[in-house]
Symmetry: C2
Subunit: 303 residues, 2 copies
């Protein structure tokens, strides 16, 4: 099935202990859709300026991403972010954020996207997430992301989103903030009660934990000897997860487990190079290889 | 097979957000041996003062712990520690440490302990760990623990210990400190090169990662809704791990995997009550129950 992905498209300048990259392609919708292309037909909704060239578009199209929903604002400039990581890949400083055309982003879905069975709402204003949901004649299976900025700034709109989505991807500190619970299991229960059928708590290098009513599943992160640039790892996780879900066409327990592992190993590739470099020529066999390795190094049977 | 356990025996006063306990039984050898009693015959080596009563000894003996090697210093006082945890169970403040009889601890093994096939050297001065190793006519399969205090203060003695042990249990920050590598995989490789065949990196609520030459295994922590007191969780992990190893009588890959899981679920019980309370009447069926639950919520097959 098809997967619509709504989110940011950006240029990122990133400095890590392993080097630096200037104005490289980035943004949540870019990472999510480029990995989802390994599993299904992703349909991107986003906005860019005139500085987003044909060469940039080609990077997305080479991954099978449908960019009919990528709007170009005449005379506009693409969202720009500059950040720096220290030795701890979980912490980063934002040096500069220029929203540019992203500031007045009003996502409009092309007609060809409307029959899609799956939707991923990247981390954008919850009012915009709601406006996207309203455009579908029949609600697709929907996953959403969010962040502390919206948890604090737009709690009511976010709650309306949560009442309408099937899955939420959220990191551990955001889950604690959203729920007011410091224990992760209690935090997940509280978020489940807000509406989503499935809560996926991302813990970076410590893996991810999926919670549903009467079901949970824990995935260890794929161990990496070399973390070059963690930017986009969370977006890649969600894109791999939702992409696999769309390819399976259901949300049963077995599918959710596999989606967790595909999301996990997808994220590991993103961290190995700057920007989307590692995703550009990523083969499904490489993804499956890590999937199987992770099974080998974590699997144990009941006694 | 039998397992000799050398380490501290203490009284702990502990305050956590969930309450407080005064002068409760604690210490690395206590937690390790009480859980090891679920798997094998633990033989404890430690030192206490006259304030360690028959009732305290009975707590150990009820778990099948041989305390012939528990020395009582006439007129002495038992090691005392007071600590306080905030909302983050990974961080604690030490309020008071009174070494008392532990300051001049010189571990002497009773003759009946010498045929033991397995040995766990809890976190004590590496020179004392070496002195214990020298007392065995035939070196047992040996695991050791250590801490930042010895990594900084006695690096040479610690290196001599590492050349002689089969396994080391170490937490993630200590592994980074000992190896000088911030990446955990590189840290583990560096520590392996120092001598041990197996390096087990403990990551608290994030589980544990075992490294050997050409073999690794990752265990997720058992998810807990209620962490009352994390004191002794690491010691319980090592005690459950070494206890299972002693019961299996070998160190093959299958045994190491099972030991990781038994260590992991053992530690989860300790966190659920203050001091050793949860270990006192812990049944092997409860341990197996969590073992199987952890398999259910983490296991996935190769694609």
């Amino acid at each position: 099935m098809s997967l619509v992905i709504v989110g940011s498209v950006a240029f990122d300048t990133i400095e890590t202990p392993r080097g630096r990259v200037d104005r490289a392609i980035g943004g949540s919708a870019v990472y999510s859709s480029m990995i989802a292309g390994s599993f299904c037909r992703p349909m991107l909704v986003g906005v860019v300026g005139e500085d987003f060239t044909g060469a940039h578009r080609a990077v997305l199209e080479a991954r099978g991403v449908d960019i009919e929903g990528l709007e170009t604002v005449p005379g506009g400039k693409t969202f720009f972010w500059e950040g720096r990581y220290g030795s701890d890949p979980n912490e980063r400083d934002t040096i500069l954020t220029e929203l540019n055309v992203f500031e007045s982003f009003r996502p409009i879905l092309p007609e060809s996207y409307l029959p899609a069975g799956f939707l991923f709402l990247g981390n954008i204003d919850p009012d915009l997430q709601l406006s996207v949901l309203k455009q579908f004649p029949k609600k697709p299976v929907t996953g959403c992301d969010t962040m502390n900025f919206w948890i604090e700034g737009k709690p009511d709109a976010l709650r309306r989103v949560l009442e309408r989505v099937d899955l939420i991807f959220i990191n551990d500190s955001e889950a604690r903030q959203l729920s007011g619970e410091s224990n992760l299991l209690r935090a997940a229960s509280t978020v489940l009660a807000m509406g989503p059928k499935v809560v996926v708590i991302k813990k970076g290098e410590h893996g991810a934990h999926l919670f549903a009513k009467d079901f949970q599943f824990i995935a260890s992160a794929f161990p990496l000897e070399d973390v070059v640039d963690p930017t986009g790892a969370g977006d890649t996780f969600a894109g791999g997860f939702m992409g696999y879900l769309a390819s399976a066409g259901n949300m049963n327990h077995e599918t959710l487990k596999k989606a967790m592992i595909y999301g996990t190993v997808s994220a590991s590739f993103t961290c190995e190079r700057f920007s989307v470099e590692r995703l550009e020529n990523l083969e499904i066999d490489e993804i499956r290889g890590r999937y199987n390795t992770l099974s080998d190094i974590t699997r144990f049977d009941r006694e």
